[in-house]
């Protein structure tokens, strides 16, 4: 049971949240300008990193805000939490590896 620090509500159990997968995949401005390959890339291809990974969560049973989390996908440690639109914090060379 992850303990996720909602930027507004504070630490809550994972069961209050909805997982949103990899963060920072912006919807293309003009999808019609993309090739099928580029579109497939946007739709389906994911970094799926082992280690620190920037991902999205929504506090769906709380304040309903979407936000970003950097979580180590091996240790499950949550390294950073930041709001939508914010740039990922610099976690230093070691922890932030692979983000």
């Amino acid at each position: 049971m992850l303990y996720i620090d909602c930027p507004w509500c504070g630490k809550r159990n994972e069961t209050e949240f909805h997982y949103g997968g990899e963060a920072h995949i912006a919807r293309p401005e003009d999808p019609s300008a993309l090739s099928d390959e580029q579109w497939a890339d946007f739709l389906f291809m994911r970094k799926n990193l082992k280690g620190p990974y920037a991902e999205r969560w929504c506090h769906s049973n709380g304040c309903r805000r979407w936000f970003n989390v950097i979580r180590n996908t091996v240790s499950h440690e949550i390294l950073a939490v930041y709001k939508m639109g914010e740039t990922p914090p610099d976690l230093g060379p070691k922890k932030g590896e692979g983000v």
Partner: protein, 1004 residues
């Protein structure tokens, strides 16, 4: 001969309170404070069960959670429980237990014949045989193997007991209430921190309950009770005994099983919560889980009467039981001596102490000598006499490291062997928390390495085996943990402890018997529960299974209900010897939750029956129940499925309901639809991007149907949206999808288009919705809302009005899912019932007919309207549904648009929605029937689609079906077949709109 093995005095049992119980049908008497194991030993019963593979007689080995053998079937009937360890059962009046997996009895067990084939049943033997003839595996071999499977039996009826869950957040959680844990809790508690102390045993004190020690000039028992009562007096300290931390998960989340009534006589348990799972979130965790003693591995070391020395000491000191009268002690460290001394003091005859170490001296050795106990340094047990109880041991002087005996065998008669092979710290929880272990050569054990969460360790868990160290480390860990959580704490001054000095331990992993391991009749057991022997481990390695994980799986070491608490370290040490690889390089297998088994009932808690998944009901629900409705589960909702009248089946009921709507008037509770208020200056633009069709130009007061797709172009929801104001819309979603759609909208608003000024608010349960439909709907409506202008000009199809209906503030929509004139009346949710009753009353003269989801489905299918999730399955585009008209060509972009031009999605021969009419008008195709063009094709038959919806249409007098058919849109009029189990049904492909193609009935 009850009580014959009780000591004269002492122990923590209440000798005045006698407790009657039965084992294997025989009556015995124990005492308050006993466990089943101690009571049986007090009655001279050692033989409790049989081993798994060879069905060898097995007895009690340990005194706690680490016990590998003594599993019993506890209790009877509905409350019977398999595989409970006798060492963990608090004795209660009327307890009944029996041996598991024996037939006809534990004394005489037919399957002991397996022992004759022991040479065949080596590790992994089943991989090598039972292959020919091929079908004999399923017909003969497997059934025979399965019959031998399992230990105890599950009850055959439901569980009458109650279980529940609790959540608790604390500053400091201390696991283990031995000296280390108690002093940790005390130090933390005194700082004012919120502290939780748990211990699996019936009382706090841990191994201190079994030892003769003085703390601060007091008896240990006194120190324990003073400490516990001080803790109990602290406001923010929670004490849980009979509570096992069984799982240590990420972010200091620990789960604890509290056994609340298992120690009570059955009659006193009624109505009480039997077991409770505590979900703990702790800022700091102090682990003080102690250590388990290790057995020694020697020939036939499994005979009943061969026990762990510390357990013997526990039975003697804590339970006032002498498990044997004539004992042989076999040890590789000083602990065995203390057992000998305590047992002798309690009246046992100590035949000898075999010390695997050639040199041993120190306080305890001297004390034993002073008592005149025979000590044999450098000796080991090389053979055991006795089947159901040890009768004697064969001992020899042995040179360590080589198979050399330096003395002739000597036979020593005894009725008990107490062995100590050293101590294995209870690192389970730490390992579960993802910690890596560190091997301590000196203490010959694995201890926790670097902390990985906010955690610390104290006591025997750390490999600190002296009481003074345990107390000191505990106090320090407790104080530090509290300090880290923001309290001011300091460890109290060190307490004065009277305890014997303990000498060094010498590893001694395997004692060869008279013949090499694996040869001859003797067996060197490593895992008693799974009958894994040292020879099995050798065989595994010989066959190439070198990783400790492979050895575990090939030999099943540590696979049992004890999860190898006493066997894992011995197994890996033996493996290390064979591979000539240091123990830490061999490594351990993975520790996993639970630490000890946990009942399914406790894990499920109260989440059973109607609480397994919340039932959502509308405010009109009780009317439906009272009217005899049958219900359908739609997501979490209960919706009326149909309203049968006396004697009607579903078919008759829906025929009647549908005809009422087509010819008169029907009424439906549509309150379950999701409703979302969407507001802001960009609301229209937002909807334009979300829906496939255009919303910008929708007039205020008007309503439009829309389809929502995922980015991959596949339909995922539909519904109508009304424009309440220039900047405000009310969206409806399908019943099951309300929350999903809201999340979806928020996701786009917050993550993709934060520049749009739009707010979404769920109002699903603000509005109850009653839908009246049919040619007479207008008449009913007129009665309900006399002030409302219902004329088609003033209140046209796809518009809404606000006003008063049946005296209630209401919003009325003219939309239609049936093709009939329909008014969907919305009133505040909690007034839904009042509205419904008013509608029934107003409609009575028109024989207004309540209808359910089944009729709704038929009526919409007659009109060719889709249901998301029925006509669609995540692979269906709007175009496939023949709804290309709803996909805007003009809008530059909307969710899903880009995907339509992909190669596969733009094919024209995709599966497309069509209607089907069977050749035989009364034949109703089964939903889910597959369709083929060539009914004579061999299998695998090329399938071209399937039936998504199918009903008998009473209005049309024939069956109708909707189907997705490959290229269906261009195959109107063609013949298609549905090959079923017993026949093939032929149908014609038709337009999916079956009823009132021109839409003439919409206006009544």
């Amino acid at each position: 001969m009850t009580g014959s093995h009780r000591t004269q005095a002492g122990g923590r049992i209440d000798r005045q309170k006698k407790i009657n119980f039965t084992f294997n049908g025989k009556s015995y008497v124990g005492m308050e404070g006993d466990t089943l194991a101690s009571a049986l030993l007090a009655n001279g019963v050692h033989l409790l069960g049989r081993s798994f593979k060879y069905h060898r007689p097995r007895g009690i080995v340990a005194a706690g959670a680490e016990e590998p053998n003594s599993m019993v079937q506890l209790g009877e009937g509905a409350v019977t429980e398999p595989n409970i360890r006798a060492t963990q059962i608090s004795l209660y009046e009327g307890l009944s237990a029996s041996s598991v997996n024996v037939w006809p009895s534990v004394e005489f067990d037919v399957s002991a014949m397996n022992g004759l084939f022991a040479k065949i049943f080596t590790a992994g033997f089943y991989n090598k045989t039972f292959m020919w003839p091929r079908d004999m595996w399923i017909k003969l071999y497997e059934p025979v193997i399965r019959r031998a499977a399992g230990w105890g039996k599950a009850p055959t009826t439901s569980d009458p007991d109650i279980y529940d869950h609790m959540h608790l957040t604390v500053d400091v959680m201390v696991v283990g209430g031995g000296p280390a844990g108690l002093s940790a809790a005390l130090a933390a508690g005194r700082s004012g921190a919120r502290v939780l102390l748990i211990d699996e045993q019936s009382e706090f004190g841990g191994s201190l309950l079994s030892l003769n020690r003085q703390i601060d000039g007091k008896n240990a028992a006194e120190w324990i009770s003073e400490t516990v009562s001080e803790l109990a007096g602290m406001e923010d300290v929670t004490l849980l005994n009979r509570s096992i931390a069984f799982g240590y998960y990420d972010q200091n989340y620990l789960c604890v099983l509290e056994q609340r009534t298992d120690h009570l006589p059955q009659a006193m348990r009624k109505g009480k919560v039997r077991q409770r799972v505590w979900h703990i979130r702790a800022i700091e965790v102090v682990l003080a889980t102690g250590a388990h003693e290790r057995p020694l591995v020697f020939a036939n070391n499994d005979r009943p009467g061969i026990m762990l020395a510390g357990a013997v000491q526990t039975y003697v000191n804590r339970y006032g039981v002498l498990p044997g009268r004539k004992m042989v002690i076999f040890t590789n460290n000083d602990a065995g001596y203390e057992t000998a001394i305590d047992a002798k003091a309690a009246g046992a005859n100590i035949a000898a102490i075999l010390d695997a170490r050639e040199e041993a001296d120190g306080e305890l050795i001297e004390a034993a000598k002073a008592l005149g106990i025979r000590i044999l340094p450098g000796y080991a047990i090389t053979g055991v006499e006795g089947g159901k109880r040890v009768k004697a041991v064969e001992v020899r002087k042995i040179q360590k490291g080589a198979k050399v005996y330096t003395s002739a065998p000597e036979r020593i008669a005894c009725d008990l062997v107490a062995m100590s092979g050293g101590w294995s710290p209870v690192v389970h929880l730490f390992s579960q928390s993802q910690g890596k272990l560190h091997y301590r050569e000196e203490e010959v054990c694995f201890v926790p390495g670097t902390p990985v969460q906010k955690q610390s360790f104290a006591g025997a868990l750390n490999g600190s085996f002296s009481l003074s160290a345990c107390l000191e480390e505990g106090a320090k860990a407790g104080a530090e943990a509290a300090t880290k959580t923001g309290f001011t704490a300091k460890a109290a001054n060190a307490l004065k402890v009277d305890e014997p000095a303990m000498g060094r331990i010498e590893p001694f992993w395997i004692v060869p018997g008279a013949r090499p391991v694996g040869e001859g009749g003797a067996k060197h057991f490593v895992d008693l529960q799974n009958d894994t022997t040292a020879a099995d481990i050798e065989l595994a390695v010989r066959e190439g299974f070198e990783s400790v994980e492979h050895v575990k799986r090939y030999t099943l070491t540590g696979f049992g209900t004890d999860q190898g608490k006493t066997s894992n370290i011995n197994a890996l040490a033996i493996l290390s010897g064979i591979l000539d690889k240091p123990i830490p390089k061999v490594g351990t297998t993975t520790f996993r939750p639970p630490y000890t088994p946990v009942s399914y009932g406790a894990l499920a808690g109260r989440n059973l029956g109607d609480w397994s998944d919340p039932v959502r009901i509308t405010s009109i629900h009780d009317w439906h129940v009272a009217s005899g409705a049958e219900f359908e589960n739609v997501g979490q909702w209960k919706r009326p499925w149909y309203f049968p009248k006396a004697g009607e089946d579903m078919h008759a009921a829906t025929n009647r309901e549908c005809l009422a709507v087509r010819n008169g008037v029907g009424v439906l509770d549509a309150s379950t639809l999701g409703k979302i208020d969407i507001r802001g200056k960009d609301a229209a633009e937002f909807l334009n991007r979300i829906y496939t069709n255009a919303f910008a130009k929708l007039g205020v007061g008007r309503v439009r149907y829309g389809l929502m797709c995922h980015e991959d172009g596949m339909v995922f929801d539909d519904g109508t949206t009304a424009r309440l104001a220039e900047d405000r819309f009310l969206m409806t979603t399908t019943t099951g999808n309300a929350a999903v759609v809201l999340d979806w909208l928020e996701e786009y608003l917050q993550t993709e288009w934060p520049e749009l000024q739009v707010y979404c608010t769920s109002v699903t349960e603000q509005w109850a919705t009653v839908s009246i439909a049919g040619p007479m709907a207008g008449k009913v409506m007129a009665k309900l809302a006399p002030e409302m202008n219902l004329s088609n000009d003033d209140f046209p199809f796809l518009s809404f009005k606000e006003g008063t209906v049946a005296g209630l503030k209401a919003r009325v929509f003219r939309i239609s899912f049936t093709g009939e004139l329909t008014y969907e009346i919305n009133v505040p949710w909690a007034q839904g019932r009042a509205l419904w009753e008013a509608v029934m009353e107003a409609g009575a003269e028109f024989d207004i007919t309540p209808y359910g989801t089944e009729s709704m489905h038929i009526l919409r299918a007659e009109k060719g309207f889709i249901i998301v999730g029925q006509e669609t399955d995540g692979t269906t585009t709007p175009q496939d549904l023949g709804m290309g008209w709803i996909v805007s060509k003009k809008k530059p972009d909307f969710i899903g648009k880009r995907s339509y031009s992909r190669m596969d999605t733009s094919r024209t021969d995709r599966k497309q929605l069509v209607g089907l009419m069977t050749d035989n008008p009364s034949e109703v195709l089964p939903e889910g029937a597959q369709l083929v063009f060539d009914k004579n094709a061999p299998r695998p038959m090329p399938m071209v689609g399937h039936v998504t919806s199918s009903y008998y249409s009473a209005a049309l007098g024939h069956s109708i079906a909707l189907a997705l058919v490959k290229g269906g849109h261009s195959k109107m009029g063609e013949t298609i077949h549905a090959p079923l189990l017993d026949k093939t049904v032929t149908a014609r492909i038709v337009d999916p709109v079956f009823y009132d193609k021109e839409g003439e009935k919409l206006n009544g």
